[in-house]
Subunit: 106 residues, 2 copies
């Protein structure tokens, strides 16, 4: 139901994870076009694959995969696998709920 403020705070307390969230606000500005999987463009609005994020973050693939998993488990990101690629995008619903929580309940 509600957001898990502690898990979200943990996810946000790392500069790279914070950057990933910010980069994913405008994927077209921050990442090359995601041409890997063209068959299902419908649900993919703004999703970016791990390797693109890894290249930008300049950390090892395992670290970035781990970070993305942390962000997803906290609810801040959504992921969708298409073929070889896993596309991550922001979960705006959680982010809105977080803003509401900070404003009204923190």
């Amino acid at each position: 139901m509600g957001i898990d403020m502690i898990e979200i705070s943990k996810a946000l307390s790392n500069e790279t994870r914070l950057n990933i969230l910010k980069w994913l606000k405008s994927p077209e500005e921050n990442f090359p076009p995601q041409g890997g999987c063209l068959s299902e463009p419908v649900d993919l609005k703004g999703g970016v694959c791990v390797s693109s994020i890894q290249a930008k973050a300049n950390l090892s693939p395992s670290t970035v995969s781990n970070y993305l998993d942390t962000l997803q488990r906290s609810g801040l990101l959504l992921s969708e696998r298409h073929g070889k690629w896993t596309y991550y995008r922001r979960n705006e619903e959680t982010i809105r709920a977080l803003a509401k929580f900070v404003k009204e309940e923190l």
Copy 2:
């Protein structure tokens, strides 16, 4: 100037620290009257001393002092010393700035 999102997130990623922030929203409901220092009631609106918070948090004084320091260094709390007591209260300005940041920039 702006808030330090990483330090704030670290401060918020602990249940007791989150509770302290919440308790300090209504000190009169959550703590006994702060009669310790009656000479300067003006600037003290809602400030609560460490021992009251420690009793409620049920952790050692050093741990609570450390938590309060963490919250203060992140900007989420303000502290004021009056005699033997240090009174902590919420820094609503930072909390508002945090809500704005999450809503507009996260």
